[in-house]
Subunit: 500 residues, 2 copies
């Protein structure tokens, strides 16, 4: 095990809880020299169990205003730096969850601080433009500099939005509009279309559907929620659409060892998906689009092969369904490529790719034919937030300057190898280690053990998330280096040893 | 006409297009001394028709990336100040549309600049917290200082969200959850509920509905869109829910002159709304909630009386429907009260009140019983944006310090009286002047004349919006003073004179 060399030394230093006993340079020396992340801390430092007394008091206060059942603890974001999140009680944790996978380059990155304090940028923060009607004069230039520099293959258009759900909702609308435009032969709507749509009736509001996958997560607004099937708590009691839900492959890991079995499972799911498309067309609710995540995240870090996605993309093409790849969680580098779908190696991977989270702004790329033919069809007050575009442009600069995709690939390899080693060492606790880049997960025996591991890990100074029924998900920032991986694995090792 | 005294003088100065001929102090002397708005310009200043050559070039560039059919012109937000929006060609316009009613206290307000440059606030901008799981340690305090200081009557809870649509989507979900909880007698869901919800089937995803009103606008995501009925372009081609749509009163203006006729019209609409609730219950799609705007904005600035809202609120109570007042556009002071529903004079005006736009953050207030009983039922990655809360807290301070609600009432009176005078002077062009505070509108004879007036007004230095089929809507910031009203009316007068 690559990390075992450091285990004893680091464990000792963590137990002593003294920041200076582990000097930063020991690890920094292993990394590229051009990094800006020297500003961060060296190691976790725990003062109280988490949540500590201050977080508990704040929980009580916030509980008078909101349901706080999901709050882990309160944070001191001023003191948080790089990969280390500091809480209200002064506990400093190595953060491998990053605000549900939405902090791209760590806390208080100096480059982002400069964006904020640059006087030229002030007006973008203070005056939020309605981008659809009155964009700032630097808006086209900023789009070219930022979003258009990372356009997925085959696409040339991008629409910004505020968040992931909003991006997916509008991506769905775009696919519905395209479908109806094709049906009408690109003629304008009929009087009947116009009249009926105002009172929620067809044909103006047609009975079209989106095919999604069991285990998927695409958001929680009503359109998105109709395609989300990860946990009942998201969907219970909310009216929805009668849209088809295909099985997502349940693969065996490591993928290399189960090639034949997994190919069979994928073939089964593809067949079922195609059957559903036919069936829903016959039902009078044709599938206008297929939406899928490259890796199902919230649903349990479920992977599928490039071959699966390639064949699904062909099924979409064959049946005239738009193909929407939801990269809200997988996008922006965590898999070692900027977009996770790049791992498929396709020239024409999708018709529409949505993003948010680490991209800081929501939005979606799309092909020309998905551009609405008229204004105000895809529209809302803000259409994103120019200040988030400024941050994104700088995040992209940092990713390039610091070669963070390579870094992620290197750290990801160390992390996945470490998880393989841990599950070999603790086979009664861990299984199914899997991942791409640092976008990794491992399953615990059951949800109770998983939750217990997460709490103990947190109390030892590493913050992780959960997903699916019993998975631990790793979602570090792109600046998570190999030595952070080692810190994390050491802590996990200690926790698992206690579970023995 | 109060403003006619200034007409000739101002018109001359505008024609000369010289900023210094109209000295600011002439108007400032009419206003309170404590204002911070001395930093703004004195008057419009036009250099080119709008859009000018630079905006046209930028339109061409952006057109390669997005549909730009809704873009009016590009803005120089650095140079914009107070009530004056400066475009890419250096034209300076008096802004009475304010980014679709979403700039509360004018451009680059010094108080908001201070918020941005305050070092204590930097981390809120640079590290966007996932508020539902890891709120900043000052979050409860900031909520108390800002949102809880403006809680609508009868409510004690608030949930922040990113935008208006997201706020309404989650408000709807909250009402559905409450309805089902009541139906189940607050017992947990059945196995059947859990199983069926995952595949979009009832009873887990029940066939509940929201009653909305013809002409309403509540957003464009699929749940919101099912309650939006202002224009076909928003709804065409998008699948929706079979939810009931009641008529919204079509009142005659001025309201004081048509009390009897309007009361009859309101009675008709209330009866129809109640009938629909009964009918949809019989159809097996019971109405879990009623959603309504205090003034239908996008739908054409349609007003209704306090008596109408009071009776509708009673109908909701009688039939066990939650009552959701959508204050996304009407809230935050533009009607002269902080919430437009305060004009109804009810102790128990609503169960849920949503907001966004001038509030800078989205969200909704609600009663205790609408608080979800479990975590993650109402949830998303960001749950708002802490940096917007910081701006909102300061906006509220400015509103109080500068008595902006009184200012709005004063300016609104001048504006509405001016519109009455204009429609008396140009009865063949204008009619149905109406408003509350500065939240005013007037109808043109048809949409072509309306659009022509808006373009000419813009070219003379005042920027206005449209709504409904042929209405001009006035949505100035809260710092729009009487002398801004006079400038605006003078320009409108000039434009209407040309239309004679």
């Amino acid at each position: 095990m690559a990390f075992s060399l450091l285990t004893r030394q680091l464990t000792a230093s963590l137990q002593q809880n003294l920041r200076l006993t582990t000097t930063g340079c020991r690890y920094v020396s292993k990394t590229a020299t051009k990094t800006e992340s020297e500003f961060e801390y060296d190691a976790p430092s725990m003062k109280t169990p988490v949540p500590g007394p201050k977080s508990k008091e704040l929980l009580r206060q916030l509980g008078d205003i909101q349901n706080v059942g999901a709050v882990h603890f309160f944070c001191n974001y001023e003191e948080s730096k790089g990969n280390y999140l500091v809480d209200a009680d002064g506990n400093r944790m190595l953060d491998a969850y990053t605000q549900i996978s939405s902090i791209p380059i760590g806390y208080n990155h100096p480059a982002l601080m400069k964006v904020l304090t640059n006087p030229n940028n002030m007006s973008a923060f203070v005056n939020r433009a309605a981008l659809g009607i009155l964009p700032p004069d630097n808006f086209p230039e900023k789009l070219v500099e930022s979003l258009l520099s990372i356009t997925p293959s085959g696409m040339s258009r991008v629409q910004t939005m505020s968040c992931g759900s909003c991006s997916n909702e509008n991506a769905f609308k775009t696919m519905f509009i395209l479908y109806r435009n094709k049906e009408r032969g690109y003629n304008g709507p009929s009087e009947e279309d116009i009249g009926t749509c105002m009172i929620n009736q067809s044909p103006g509001c047609p009975e079209l559907s989106i095919l999604s996958f069991m285990g998927a997560f695409h958001g929680r607004t009503l359109g998105c929620l109709a395609t989300t099937h990860s946990k009942p708590i998201h969907k219970l009691d909310i009216p929805t659409f009668d849209w088809p839900v295909a099985p997502f492959p349940k693969l065996q890991y490591p993928l290399e060892e189960f090639v034949r079995e997994n190919a069979q499972e994928e073939a089964r799911c593809l067949e079922e998906a195609e059957d559903l498309i036919v069936k829903w067309r016959q039902k009078g609710k044709p599938v206008a689009g297929i939406v899928i995540e490259p890796i199902q995240a919230e649903g349990g870090d479920n992977h599928a092969s490039p071959d699966f996605f390639s064949k699904l993309r062909n099924i979409a093409r064959k049946h005239g369904c738009a193909f929407h790849v939801d990269e809200v969680q997988t996008g922006a580098g965590a898999t070692g490529k900027f977009w996770a779908h790049e791992h498929w190696g396709l020239d024409d991977p999708a018709d529409i790719v949505s993003f948010s989270k680490k991209m800081l702004t929501g939005g979606y790329f799309h092909k020309d034919e998905l551009m609405p033919e008229k204004p105000y069809r895809i529209f809302n007050t803000w259409m994103g937030d120019p200040s988030k575009n400024l941050f994104l442009a700088e995040v992209l600069n940092v990713i390039r300057r610091e070669n963070l995709l390579e870094e992620v690939t290197r750290s990801g390899k160390a992390l996945l190898n470490g998880l393989y080693a841990l599950q070999a060492q603790y086979p009664h606790i861990l299984s199914r280690a899997r991942g791409q880049g640092t976008f990794c997960a491992v399953d615990a025996r059951d949800d109770a053990i998983r939750d217990s591991i997460l709490i103990k890990t947190r109390n030892k100074g590493a913050f992780l998330g959960s997903c699916g029924e019993r998975s631990i998900r790793f979602r570090p920032a792109l600046v998570f280096k190999e030595y952070h991986v080692h810190q994390l694995l050491n802590i996990l090792n200690d926790v698992l040893a206690e579970h023995k």
